[in-house]
């Protein structure tokens, strides 16, 4: 499979053209890092003496979407916002595994100083506007970032992710209509893993083809293979170009599969063993590593060493975060407000 040639045809990923495969290997490594991080999180969460509190939603199986997005993302002007399944995107945009797991431990070294938790990984330095816990609550916010990008004429675009459960919320209707009306440069992406918590699409959406949900908003829309990072880069890249050119929003259904449950308490009884086995054949990491191997971008030895390196990085990050301190108790009063009161403007 001539991956390199395919990539060269894509204007949106010109950066990687001269690649000797290093860009592709980095992408593969990030997908592997996310997977390893999530599987280690699963182990930690389910161990006795659980150190990760609260809800926790794992991204395993959906890595191609986060890594494909990060390949297109301009940290100086773009914005990204997410639902609560936000670990993968945060790592892909450069959050250190330590800052991510420390946040899930509630530690002061966490990206949000232990005030957000698993569902709320924020990193303002790269335009990561966090994960949001209320299903669909982030859709108007993503619209607002794009509105600001357009207002300030930065050429930036906003990626606003949601799960397939979010399309049934009222904010979906309001935000997509406004985005199209105002021609805001927002790319709405459903990470369609086929099930809203435990309710399959067949039982939650009258229209099975989720991309068609955008028809009423006069917005370009399509289905994307969310398990193929190259496809994600190509299809999302076109939406990014549209946004940067001032042509308005796009709606994409990135179809994928989550290997883990909705959250940690989910035994996934709604899935058959056959379905899960079949899904593994479409594992985004296997697809991409096979492709890179076929293109002579990576050898089996390199793959093994990548695996070892991400495993070490994750183990080290978890150990560091474990040793990190909790925030001082008085810190609970900080960060609620930006001003001090009484407030008298100058």
């Amino acid at each position: 499979m001539a991956v390199a040639n395919e990539i060269e045809k894509r204007p949106s990923v010109k950066k990687s053209q001269a690649s000797d495969g290093s860009v592709e290997r980095d992408r593969l490594r990030m997908m592997m890092l996310i997977r390893r991080f999530e599987e280690k999180t699963f182990q930690e969460y389910t161990k006795p003496g659980q150190k990760i509190g609260g809800f926790c939603h794992l991204y395993s199986g959906q890595e191609a979407i986060a890594v494909g997005t990060a390949a297109l993302f301009d940290k100086n002007r773009d914005a990204l916002i997410n639902g609560y399944r936000c670990h993968g995107h945060s790592l892909a945009l450069g959050m250190t595994p330590r800052a991510a797991i420390a946040e899930m431990y509630g530690k002061v070294t966490g990206c949000s100083k232990g005030k957000g938790g698993s569902m709320h990984l924020f990193d303002a330095s790269v335009g990561n506007h966090g994960g949001h816990g209320i299903v669909g609550g982030q859709l108007p916010l993503g619209l607002g970032f794009a509105f600001a990008q357009s207002y300030k004429k930065t050429g930036g675009v906003t990626f606003c992710f949601m799960g397939d459960g979010a399309i049934n919320q009222g904010t979906f209707n309001e935000a997509l209509n406004l985005a199209s009306l105002y021609k805001s440069p927002v790319i709405y992406v459903v990470e369609n893993n086929g099930v809203a918590m435990g309710t399959q699409i067949e039982r939650h959406s009258a229209e099975k083809d989720l991309s068609k949900r955008a028809c009423g908003f006069n917005m370009p829309h399509r289905n994307v293979d969310g398990n193929d990072v190259d496809t994600v880069i190509k299809e999302f890249g076109e939406a990014v170009e549209r946004g940067r050119a001032g042509e308005g929003p796009t709606f994409l259904s990135a179809n994928t599969y989550r290997f883990r449950g909705h959250s940690m308490s989910d035994a996934m009884k709604y899935r058959s063993k056959e379905e899960a086995e079949k899904a593994k054949l479409r594992d985004p990491i296997s697809i991409y590593s096979t492709r890179l191997r076929d293109a002579n971008f990576i050898t089996d030895e390199q793959l093994e060493s990548l695996q070892e390196s991400v495993s070490n990085e994750v183990t080290e990050a978890f150990a560091q975060a474990d040793a990190d301190p909790h925030p001082p108790l008085e810190d609970r009063f900080n960060d609620a407000l930006a001003e001090t009161y009484p407030y008298q403007p100058e």
Binding site: A79, I81, G110, C111, S112, K113, G114, K115, G116, H120, F122, D123, A124, H129, G130, H132, G133, I134, G137, L139, P140, L141, G142, L143, G144, F145, A146, F147, A148, Q149, Y151, K152, G170, T171, N173, E174, A175, N177, L178, L181, Y182, N334, D335, A336, L337, A338, E339, Y341, P342, Y343, Q344, P345
Partner: protein, 322 residues
């Protein structure tokens, strides 16, 4: 009042191009209540935005735009309509800064008419102050005069925190002298509107304008009770210091609002002051509020449910053992 609000927005939009106005009918229709009349013409469509009827959509848009460095003024036709977008205000405007460990700030003003505005029925007559003033991460402001409205709104627009700005449709026609030159009023500072020795009355916004001032006049002129009247101006953060200093002098206090009593705004104010005031009190703090029923449509029933001059006078007399 209408002109004072418009002047505040206009001055701030002239001062800072990141300030914009958005809401239902604010642009081409010139405002559902004409507060923004002429602003589209003055500033153009890039600064004054009409929206579809999508409160959650445009409230959230404002929050998102604020975290990106803009300073949105989001007008709600009525605060009663914010029940359908309350997630955007409470979970997003108020929480994003805290949940991100202080990485983002949310300089936004949400403004519009609040409370009972005569025969609008139960759904359009909500007094939202106790809903929003209890939320950490939000600032809640309720002006009672055109002068205050202008000075407070200008400060709210410059403030880096999300501000809930509670106006009243029934106050928009109020007239008063408002200076042409720039002035700003602090957020979180109450105004002692009338100094007195006998009792402290605490109120704010529409109830203050509708009945409290008149009740104070009766109490002073007809009953010889020297009332100290405190206009809170800001409901969160509450200026407990000004209230307590007053009670230390008068030893008596009555709180008046148009909220429901149980978990109402006044109940929250009571919680904030009763312990510190206890040793100085010669009578229990009383709370005059609306009857605990949905707001009736009928004019007489609606009037009857709300605090009246008589109710305030009798509560004050009782607190003064008169």
């Amino acid at each position: 009042m209408r002109e004072a609000l418009r002047a505040a927005m206009t001055e701030e939009m002239e001062r800072d191009e990141n300030v914009f106005l958005m809401g239902e009918e604010v642009a081409e229709y010139n405002g559902a209540y004409k507060v923004s009349e002429g602003m589209l013409k003055k500033f153009g469509p890039k600064r004054v935005w009409d929206t579809p009827i999508s409160e959650a959509g445009f409230a959230g848009l404002g929050v998102g735009a604020a975290t990106m460095g803009l300073r949105p003024i989001i007008e709600f036709m009525s605060w009663s309509f914010t029940w359908v977008c309350i997630d955007q205000i409470i979970n997003n405007a108020a929480n994003v800064r805290y949940m991100s460990g202080g990485q983002y700030k949310v300089p936004i003003v949400f403004r519009g008419g609040n409370g009972i505005a005569h025969q609008l029925g139960a759904t359009h007559s909500h007094r939202m102050e106790s809903v929003y003033a209890r939320i950490p991460g939000l600032i809640t402001v309720a002006p009672s005069t055109p002068y205050d409205a202008k000075g407070l709104l200008k400060s709210a627009i410059r403030c880096d925190d999300p501000v809930i700005f509670l106006e009243s449709e029934k106050m928009l026609n109020d007239t008063a002298e408002v200076p042409e030159e720039e002035y700003l009023l602090p957020l979180g500072v109450a105004n002692v509107e009338r100094k007195g020795e006998d009792i402290t009355i605490v109120s704010y916004g529409r109830p203050l304008q509708r009945v409290v001032r008149e009740a104070v006049r009766h109490l002073v002129e007809d009953h010889g009770i020297d009332v100290e009247l405190i206009d809170l101006r800001t409901l969160r953060p509450l200026d407990t210091n000004t209230i307590l200093e007053s009670i230390k002098k008068t030893n008596r206090c009555v709180i008046v609002d148009e909220d429901w009593g149980y978990c109402g705004m006044g109940a929250g104010i009571l919680y904030k002051i009763q312990k510190a005031a206890f040793d100085y009190l010669d009578a229990p703090i009383d709370y005059v509020h609306s009857d605990e029923i949905p707001v009736p449509f009928n004019h007489y029933l609606e009037e009857a449910m709300m605090p009246s001059v008589d109710r305030i006078v009798s509560a004050v007399k009782e607190a003064c053992y008169r």
